[in-house]
């Protein structure tokens, strides 16, 4: 009997064992299926994400990139796009960056260059190509771009070369920015106030395709002002520019169409006097700018005056003091506006222009009838003259209030049409001024008109590419005072972190025993 009872029990346990084994096997199978599903779904999702991202990036990456910057700083303007459209089909302008295209160029000098060049490629319909070739790895590129070796490209690593039908131009990336030179002098830090990238590249392409029509020489060696911006401006007008160093002898080259003395702080030499006088008499054109700044308060410019007196102009050794509040800027007597003389009102879209630290210009007592001389810019009727005292403060000198000339124009009456513009402020030519106000400023428009009046340029160069301003990051000096800066430091670096840390300590102490 007991055997009979035991038998079914044995069978039950055997059945249970079989069932358990079956369940276990089932569980294992299910686990395996779930594992396959889990791993498979992860892999499939990863593949889909990778594929979708690659396709999106490669096919639509550029199309789905939008420039929402206020100045549209990363794309070319319609002016450049129209220039590209105007080029005949089959035109091939090759832009080569003499470096490897960096994967990351944020906060580098290429930040506002590479995206704009990409846009040139995008909008040129194949007429412009951009490549990045490291000269160290591909030295053949130097020979390929410049077979004659006239540009010494080996020394221009990091620059851009623009090549068209064997003609070359080179662009230093740094010149694609307007730098705040005042801020640089004060703090030794570079702050870009504007982007010239499009200005530089479009003008360079235009010069290569259409050729320069004129050449301007900038006199150097007289402690003159920086001329980078005015050179950019001229290049944009189809005028080639070159320096003329007086320290190695002074001779005006035959191909000089325009001679520029930009903010000279030293007087010209006797030789220069003779050369420039002859040059103008023979039909040469010149622009001369000086001012009354700490660098030249002791300079009376006797030789320059000797030259200008021939043209009925005299540069006085003092400063224009603007007493009319309607003309003053920021309530400054030496930073003001000047009226444009009636004959020159077409040169600008405004009636007054910005002048700073100007010297008075006057007509010479004994007029030279060979020259016709006229005022171009004048002060208000309330202007007087002052000199800087030993503390560099303006000291009024005896002078009745009246209109003072700030810029004058003189031309020879012979058939050669030599002429000269004299500015007694550097606000029309210097980097100091344009680094603040960029080439979009009205003063830039005015000097362009002056140049055009002397060197009629072809209409094909009359395109205006605005400089894109970048100085929106500058805080108002009235509001961002040292007191405010200190308060910012105390609140954001001390008070708030200390309060939050204290909260952490309180919470920790309350909860550590829970």
């Amino acid at each position: 009997m007991s055997e009979n009872v035991k038998k079914p029990a044995k069978n039950v346990s055997k059945n249970n064992a079989v069932n358990n084994q079956g369940n276990k096997q089932h569980r294992n199978e299910r686990a395996h299926q779930l594992k396959v599903y889990a791993v498979g779904s992860v892999l499939i999702l990863l593949a889909i994400i990778l594929l979708a991202n690659i396709l999106l990036d490669k096919l639509l990456g550029r199309t789905l990139t939008f420039d929402y910057s206020v100045e549209r700083s990363n794309v070319i303007s319609n002016t450049s796009a129209q220039f590209l459209d105007s080029l005949p089909d089959g035109t091939n302008i090759r832009i080569v960056g003499l470096f490897e295209r960096p994967e990351s160029f944020y906060e580098s000098k290429y930040q506002y260059i590479i995206p704009i060049l990409d846009d040139y490629v995008k909008k040129s319909k194949g007429k412009v190509t951009v490549e990045y070739i490291d000269m160290q790895k591909n030295p053949n590129i130097i020979q390929q771009l410049d077979p004659t070796g006239s540009y010494d490209l080996a020394k221009l690593s990091g620059w851009y070369v623009i090549s068209y039908n064997g003609k070359l131009d080179v662009i230093d990336p740094v010149t694609c920015y307007t730098i705040d030179t005042d801020y640089l002098d004060e703090t030794d830090r570079f702050v870009a106030t504007g982007i010239n990238t499009e200005y530089k590249f479009t003008n360079s392409m235009m010069s290569l395709v259409r050729g320069f029509t004129n050449k301007a020489y900038f006199v150097t060696g007289l402690k003159e002002n920086g001329s980078t911006e005015i050179k950019n401006l001229m290049n944009g007008m189809g005028i080639d520019t070159q320096d003329l160093d007086v320290t190695v002898g002074f001779k005006i080259p035959e191909d000089c169409n325009l001679l520029i003395l930009n903010g000279i702080n030293n007087d010209i030499t006797e030789t220069m006097y003779v050369e420039i006088k002859t040059y103008v008499e023979r039909g040469g054109k010149a622009i001369i700018s000086v001012d009354y700044s700490p660098e030249n308060v002791n300079e009376a410019y006797p030789n320059l005056n000797h030259l200008l007196n021939e043209m009925n102009i005299n540069v006085e050794h003092c400063m224009v003091t603007e007493n009319d509040p309607a003309y003053q800027l920021n309530s400054q007597i030496n930073d003001s506006q000047a009226d444009i003389a009636e004959k020159f009102t077409d040169f600008a879209t405004v009636k007054r222009l910005h002048i700073t630290l100007a010297r008075p210009l006057s007509f010479t007592a004994a007029a030279n009838s060979n020259y016709t001389t006229e005022a171009v810019l004048t002060s208000s009727k309330s202007a007087t003259k002052s000199v800087a005292d030993e503390n560099e403060r303006a000291k009024q000198i005896s002078s009745d209030p009246g209109v003072v000339n700030i810029a004058m124009h003189s031309y020879h009456n012979n058939d050669m049409h030599g002429e000269i513009y004299v500015f007694s402020t550097v606000n029309f030519t210097s980097d100091d001024y344009f680094s603040h106000f960029t080439l979009n400023d009205k003063n830039a428009d005015f000097i362009k008109s002056c140049i055009r009046s002397m060197l009629p340029t072809s209409a094909q160069y009359n395109i205006d590419i605005p400089v894109k301003r970048l100085d929106g990051n500058r805080l108002s000096t009235d509001k961002a005072t040292t007191t405010v800066a200190t308060s910012v430091m105390i609140v954001f670096m001390i008070v708030l972190p200390v309060v939050l840390s204290s909260m952490a300590v309180i919470v920790y102490n309350k909860r550590k025993n829970l």
């Binding site: 991202n53 910057s69 506002y112």
Partner: protein
């Protein structure tokens, strides 16, 4: 998901974690802001872009306890035994961390108000930078969350997410190194320099393609790239799904 989000978000303020993360963020963002303010030039885009490098510190702090803490307390079992979607749990915790980031970011919004009041600019570039900041925060939080799912220890979780984010931050550099290394090896095999350069560039390009920092850096110029945002979002989704799968595996492999 709402309950998880609420519980998780409030837990940051019931423990020192949230306050410590906020204190670090406030101090460093304040330092960057003041450094610019003192010079008279403030670019909020630069501040926000610089703050991206803080992910490596902040993300491990706020994500290390997400699942590891539950495991330590034994409350993790509730996720497996209650009839709730594990993906909701993952999403709830993820959104809570994002919300904490938003709270921390109030600090930067105050900086923007100060800048605007002082005559500075808050333009499209700044908005782009904010957008990128949160998309990248989403990516890195999802990575930190995955690290928290993988391990029982908060410390190990923090180290794993720290390393992961560090590698991502260095992807472009790593790509260049790998490319150069392969190119050097090929030079021993007398392979032509053009081929070597092509391979080096291809390797460097392929690795650095995954670098979200490089992809998004031009947002601060006001240049919005949809593909960069899709990249951050899609990989954040992937890491969240991976975390969910690992939790799901734990649910069905419970014995």
């Amino acid at each position: 998901m709402q309950a998880i989000f609420k519980r998780e978000f409030l837990s940051y303020f019931r423990t020192p974690v949230g306050y410590v993360a906020m204190a670090i963020f406030t101090f460093i963002s304040g330092f960057i802001f003041y450094s610019q303010f003192a010079t008279g030039y403030v670019s909020m885009s630069v501040e926000i872009i610089m703050l991206r490098s803080l992910f490596i510190i902040i993300v491990p702090i706020i994500t290390m306890g997400m699942f590891a803490e539950d495991r330590k307390r034994g409350t993790e079992i509730l996720y497996y035994t209650n009839p709730i979607e594990l993906f909701s749990v993952v999403t709830g915790k993820f959104l809570a961390a994002m919300a904490l980031y938003l709270v921390m970011f109030i600090n930067v919004f105050i900086h923007m108000i100060v800048v605007a009041a002082c005559g500075g600019t808050v333009d499209a570039g700044v908005i782009g930078s904010v957008l990128v900041f949160f998309f990248m925060a989403a990516l890195f939080i999802s990575i930190g969350l995955l690290a928290s799912v993988l391990t029982d220890s908060q410390i190990i979780s923090a180290i794993v997410s720290f390393l992961f984010i560090l590698v991502i931050q260095l992807l472009t550099v790593i790509g260049n190194y790998c490319g150069t290394a392969v190119s050097t090896i090929m030079s021993y095999m007398d392979i032509a320099s053009d081929t070597r350069n092509a391979v080096r560039n291809a390797i460097a390009g392929a690795i650095s393609w995954f670098d979200p920092f490089a992809k998004t850096e031009l947002f601060s110029n006001g240049l919005f790239s949809v593909s960069a945002l899709v990249f951050c979002l899609s990989f954040a989704l992937f890491f969240l799904y991976l975390s969910f799968r690992i939790l799901e595996k734990k649910r069905w492999s419970q014995k």
